[in-house]
């Protein structure tokens, strides 16, 4: 294992310390229990928006804490959900009296730990609502699985709901908008390589020189199918087909196209992916009204990409365009 770290045990903590040192104007980091919180929290009368999950997906979630996005983020160990103590303390820290919304990616551990935290916070008199993100079309949504995973749409939800809360939306409104984003967003990922969890020291799975994993998750976990490596055009066709037919997206739709790098993919390749996606959307009469391209929800050093399409309406477009100022996402502010 070659990694730019000091010690395996201190990876998450030292990275948080670095964020705190770099972005003291935007965020503060609380340790034991660990959470990243807006420097100006709590904001009286504003709904608090919290997310969290395993570390290793940077900049998600800590990089999205700030004005117009998250009020707090709870980082677990790498690829391990945070514990309830973190969400409970973060919930208390951002509670401005208008309630707190938990944005939870649909993984068994995340859901259970957030549920426990919500129960504890409610017992302390804080109004808490939760929205589950489950946008990964690679997973069959049936009683035969834990349900679809939460992936790329999470980033878009955090931005859009963050803007709604910043604009004064109440908890019920924030919950409605978050649910709408989840209902309108679909994603799929693929990997060219696995990734190495520092504590393990070796790749989570092995991929041959000419192999790729389609439908991969964001935890280095294997995907649904392994196949021979194809051209970017063919790969994007496979992913776009799965996404477009699932919602389904239709001619005349306006969408936000999010091409995300998994951590080890150069931007030059992400633009090739975007180019293929734009051609497919154009051919289907779908207008890419907004886009986001880059590494926003990663799996350590995994090479690969995910595509998320979010069907936009006026409300979602307006909230997407609203000012945001966080360590990883900034415009209009």
């Amino acid at each position: 294992m070659k990694k730019l770290i000091n010690t395996v045990e201190d990876v998450v903590k030292e990275s948080l310390e670095g964020m705190a040192a770099a972005h003291a104007d935007l965020i503060a980091v609380h340790y034991d229990p660990d959470f990243v919180v807006r420097a100006d929290a709590p904001i009286a009368g504003k709904v608090g928006i919290i997310s969290g999950g395993g570390s290793g997906h940077e900049p998600m979630h800590g990089g999205f804490v700030g004005k117009g996005m998250l009020d707090a983020a709870c980082p677990g160990a790498i690829f391990t959900s945070p514990v309830p103590d973190q969400m409970l303390e973060a919930t208390k820290a951002v509670n401005g009296g208008a309630g707190v919304l938990h944005i939870v990616k649909n993984y068994t551990g995340d859901v259970m730990n957030f549920e426990l935290a919500a129960e504890l916070a409610q017992a302390e008199g804080i109004e808490v609502a939760a929205v589950i993100v489950n946008d990964d079309v690679a997973v069959k949504d049936s009683t035969w699985t834990a349900g679809r995973r939460g992936v790329g749409t999470t980033v878009l939800m955090e931005k859009i709901v963050g803007a709604a809360a910043e604009g004064g939306a109440n908890l019920a409104e924030c919950t409605r908008i978050a649910t709408k984003v989840n209902d309108h967003g679909r994603s799929m990922g693929m990997a060219l390589t696995s990734c190495i969890v520092p504590a393990n020291g070796k790749p989570t799975f092995d991929l041959g020189e000419n192999e790729m994993e389609i439908g991969v998750g964001i935890h280095g976990e294997p995907g649904r199918t392994r196949m021979e490596l194809k051209s970017a055009r063919e790969i994007v066709e496979i992913m776009a087909e799965a996404i477009l037919t699932d919602l389904p997206f239709a001619s005349g739709d306006n969408v936000l196209a999010f091409v995300n790098g998994m951590g080890g993919t150069p931007l030059i390749e992400l633009y090739i992916v975007y180019n293929e996606l734009a051609k497919i959307c154009a051919a289907k009469g779908i207008t890419i009204a907004r886009h986001l391209i880059g590494d926003y929800i990663t799996s350590l050093e995994m090479a690969g990409a995910s595509i998320t399409l979010l069907k936009l309406d006026d409300e979602l477009t307006r909230l997407w365009d609203a000012p945001v100022h966080t360590p990883a996402l900034r415009w209009g502010a």
Binding site: P33, G54, G76, A77, I78, F79, T80, S81, P82, V83, P84, D85, Y107, T108, G109, M112, N113, E115, L116, A138, V139, K140, T143, W144, T145, A146, R149, V197, A199, N200, T204, F205, G217, H219, G220, E221, P222, G223, R224
Partner: protein, 219 residues
């Protein structure tokens, strides 16, 4: 035979030792069909439990188990933290204020622990989870209640049932937890949660052997 707080403490220390020594194996099992953190997480959690034990060593069994459950929830993360944490807290509920545990109370506590895992995980048997290891063991213990078979012999059969349940997860299709994302590809791998449950059952059996041996010395 009676189980004291001292027995429970040594049981927890045994579990922590096993999770530490089997950490790589559990993590590798998890890498096959999950996200490669099960051994790391349980090692961290039970090490935290052991460090808390001196503060509760003079307390009743219920308090020790409740502290164990709360510590696991606060330190393990993932799904196994809330699941094992809930199991210990439910067992603690049955044994609240109890200084010495008899076999009937132990079986009732294990039954409550299993129910806790099922409720928290919304899972049933046959879904390739820790329930597939725990439930067959609880079945054996319950079925033997009211018979005159020595409890240690019953417990030995229960441990064998847990081991068989763990092995039976290999051909199962996962329908809960992260392994379920693999669909058919989850078949052929032993479930890491069922495996860690077997290690806990082994430590429980070792505790019973110790309690029985000490009871024989006394009588």
């Amino acid at each position: 035979m009676l189980i004291t707080a001292g027995h429970i403490i040594r049981f927890l220390e045994r579990v922590a030792y096993t999770m530490h020594t089997q950490r790589e194996e559990l993590t590798q099992l998890d890498a096959n069909i999950g996200d490669a953190d099960h051994g790391t997480n349980l090692d961290r959690g039970f090490a935290a439990v052991v460090s808390k034990l001196p503060t509760v060593a003079d307390k009743d069994v219920g308090t020790i188990l409740k502290t164990t459950g709360m510590t696991l929830i606060s330190t393990v993360g993932g799904a196994s933290g809330p699941l094992y944490g809930t199991a210990f807290i439910r067992a603690a509920g049955v044994l609240a204020g109890v200084e010495t545990v008899n076999p009937e109370q132990l079986v009732a506590a294990l039954e409550a622990a299993l129910e806790g895992v099922q409720t928290r995980g919304k899972a049933q048997r046959g879904e390739k989870t820790m329930i597939d290891a725990i439930a067959p063991g609880v079945d054996v213990l319950k079925a033997a209640q009211g018979t005159d078979e020595p409890f240690l012999a019953v417990a030995e059969r229960a441990l064998a049932a847990v081991e068989a349940g763990m092995q039976a997860t290999i051909p199962m299709l996962a329908t809960k937890g992260r392994a379920s994302y693999l669909g058919e590809r989850s078949i052929g791998f032993q479930d890491p949660g069922a495996t860690s449950s077997f290690y806990i059952a082994q430590a429980l059996f070792a505790m019973l052997q110790e309690a029985v041996a000490q009871a024989e010395v006394v009588s």
